[in-house]
């Protein structure tokens, strides 16, 4: 497992490719990947940058426990979870989740489970700066794809 909180820009494709190259050839039959990227708009306003605050001790603990429980529950071959903190600009990746499993269902389901947990439980908070200079906290995340919303 690779679980990291990262304070500088990251390249999701490069990170996933490099990690996958460390896995034994033929050990997995499916890989699913999610990349969350910063938009340049939110609630009809243009956004110029964002700062991601977190609760370091709790975040590390939560992410490691999440990774362990999801890997066990879905019998994953491997997983990777990277999450940015600090100042982020539009177009930059915020989160990267990748899962490797024997078959596609487990890879898809585990990837989604981790992303939804990250969005609803992991102690990160976004503070965005509008192009006019005003800053504000993001008060809620959008509902997940299976929320019915």
């Amino acid at each position: 497992m690779r679980v990291e909180i990262i304070e500088c820009a990251l390249d999701p494709m490069r990170e996933v490719t490099r990690y996958q190259e460390t896995l034994p050839m033929g050990s997995f039959g499916a890989m699913a990947m999610f990349v969350g990227t910063m938009r340049d708009f939110n609630e009809s306003d243009a956004i110029s940058s964002m700062v991601l605050e977190h609760y370091p001790e709790m975040t590390e603990r939560h992410l490691n426990e999440l990774a362990g429980s999801v890997a066990d529950a879905h019998d994953l071959v491997e997983l990777m979870m990277l999450h940015r903190v600090g100042e982020i600009h539009p177009g930059e990746p915020i989160v990267v989740v990748a899962t490797w499993s024997a078959h596609r269902a487990a890879a898809f389901e585990a990837c989604e489970a981790m992303v939804e947990d990250l969005k609803s439980k992991a102690p990160f908070w976004k503070k965005e700066t509008l192009t006019g200079g005003e800053s504000r906290w993001v008060e809620y995340n959008t509902a997940g794809p299976r929320s019915g919303a």
Binding site: E4, E57, M58, E60
Partner: protein, 99 residues
């Protein structure tokens, strides 16, 4: 690779700050809630403080607990009725918005 779990130096510091009784609770606020209460970290005596709600009342007298506030005790989600003990770290924060 598993991330190292940091030992809480703040707990040790809190105990040093209360040398008479040695009983203290470290409190942390995050994000918009930290802005609203005007502080990020404070240490209080644990005397007479039984629950997370008591912790809030002991250190934030100017504001009721917001309806959407979350609380964690020693880095785990808890309820406001959960018991707190000497040396605990109690954190208050708004709904999370990561990912």
């Amino acid at each position: 690779m598993r991330l190292p779990h940091r030992d809480s130096l703040r707990k040790r510091l809190a105990l040093l700050l209360d040398p008479i009784s040695g009983m203290s609770i470290n409190i942390r606020f995050f994000a918009s809630l930290a802005d609203r209460v005007g502080m990020r970290e404070v240490t209080i005596s644990s005397e007479g403080v039984d629950t997370a709600k008591d912790v809030w009342l002991a250190c934030v007298r100017s504001m009721d607990i917001p309806g959407n506030a979350r609380v964690a005790i020693n880095q785990e989600y808890a309820s406001f009725d959960a018991a707190v003990n000497d040396g605990d770290e109690v954190a208050f924060f708004p709904p999370v918005t990561g990912g």
